[in-house]
């Protein structure tokens, strides 16, 4: 009997010290039956990617309020590529101006970005749908 669970790393990079948003998301994902690895405040991209690999998560969710999104998302993507772990989905939330959202998504630096006030159900739904497409036995490039 398979006991598979969607695993998500919720991280809070950057220097701003408040993680209420990240905690709300973490709880919503848990209530949707996912395993959420909560890695705390002030994470560097290196720490986030390393933790994601050790925990073998399906998704990394970053909460960014510090305005550093234009450097952090590309950096996390780059590290995932270096580790041959591009199959891990990268999503984010926080205060990201609309034009930056467009740039990040277009350049493939994130799979999805949710603006403040997005109902948590929408984020849950997005994750479930994306991972369903991969099927129960995901066909991953390096798997």
């Amino acid at each position: 009997m398979s006991q598979s669970r969607i695993r998500v790393l919720v991280g809070k990079p950057g220097l701003d010290g408040h993680d209420r948003g990240a905690k709300v998301i973490a709880r919503a994902l848990r209530d949707a039956g996912m395993e959420v690895i909560y890695s705390g405040l002030h994470q560097t991209p290196e720490e986030i990617v390393e933790a994601a690999i050790q925990e073998d998560v399906d998704v990394i969710g970053l909460s960014i309020l510090s305005g550093a999104h234009l450097t952090i998302f590309p950096r996390v993507k780059e590290l995932l590529r270096e580790q041959e772990a591009e199959d891990i989905l990268l999503i984010g939330g926080g205060t990201i101006p609309e034009e930056d959202v467009e740039v990040l998504l277009r350049q493939g630096f994130a799979e999805a970005l949710f603006t403040p006030g997005t109902p948590t159900g929408e984020i849950v739904g997005w994750i479930k749908q994306r991972l369903e497409k991969k099927g129960p036995e995901p066909a991953r490039a390096n798997d």
């Binding site: 973490a26 848990r30 209530d31 959420v36 890695s39 050790q54 772990a85 036995e137 798997d143």
Partner: protein, 318 residues
Amino acid sequence: MSRDEMNEWLERLLRHERRAVAKLISRVEDDRGRAEIMHSVRAHSGKSLVVGITGPPGVGKSSLVEALTRYYRENGERVGIVAVDPSSPYTGGAILGDRIRMQAHTTDRDVFIRSMGTRGHLGGVARSTADVLRILEAGGYGRLLLETVGVGQSEIEIMRLADTVVVVLNPGTGDGIQAIKAGIMEVADIFVVNKSDMPGAERMKNDIEMMLDLNGGAGPLRRPPVVLTSALQALGIPELGEAIAEQQAFLRESGQIKIRRQVQLQRETWHYLEEKVRALFDGTWPQIPQDWLEAGERDPFGLVEKVWAKMTGGRDVS
């Protein structure tokens, strides 16, 4: 996953590739090819002794794991950590937060931290926690640390997994008495009074020592030491490291490790059998005729015997 793919992951595991460690842990945890994977992994593991850290919620288990990891790293050891948190019994989801306290080691390539949800398993660990520890060992992490769920009781499960059971308590709480009531006295190899920077630590130590005196002859083979620590102020950590080393040397030199491993094997075997018996029962119950059930209301023990006979196909397996 095809056999070839699995073999490739297993080879990469033995080359100590971290991605392989992580992937194989997921497979085993999700019960995808678990038996085959563990068959290979067991051939390359089992020598390392497991230090299990247990105790009530919030006593500082994760903080101690962090501090011990620092201690072992200074000795050049590679550390594999499993930290278990409870899964929600309603949704199966979990928030796994033990890593927060271990952040300092995240990017150290000689440390591997894996969080697990209990996924419905009781007793402070997950169903496959023992397997995950062995995967870490095969992946090159020779010093194994396990943090259980913060529970005050039913610590027997940790005996199945840990060669060194460290029970952590705090000063100025009712922890000591609770622990004794819950039967922790019998399973502890080492007691730690953490947060000894707070008042009442010496008193707590004395309480524990007194209980150990009372336990007297019937107690464990080796009287558990009581170590005062402050994970916060990094006090008492070398002393804890030494207490662990002494207990593990005792296990090996006295041959106790062999007995202990056999007890673990017994528990592990029962653990699997329990699952099988439950599945058999669940399959049998709907076939029980109505008149048996009616008779069973008057004579439940008679019904048990009949169901057992049906489950086992009339063979006498008792």
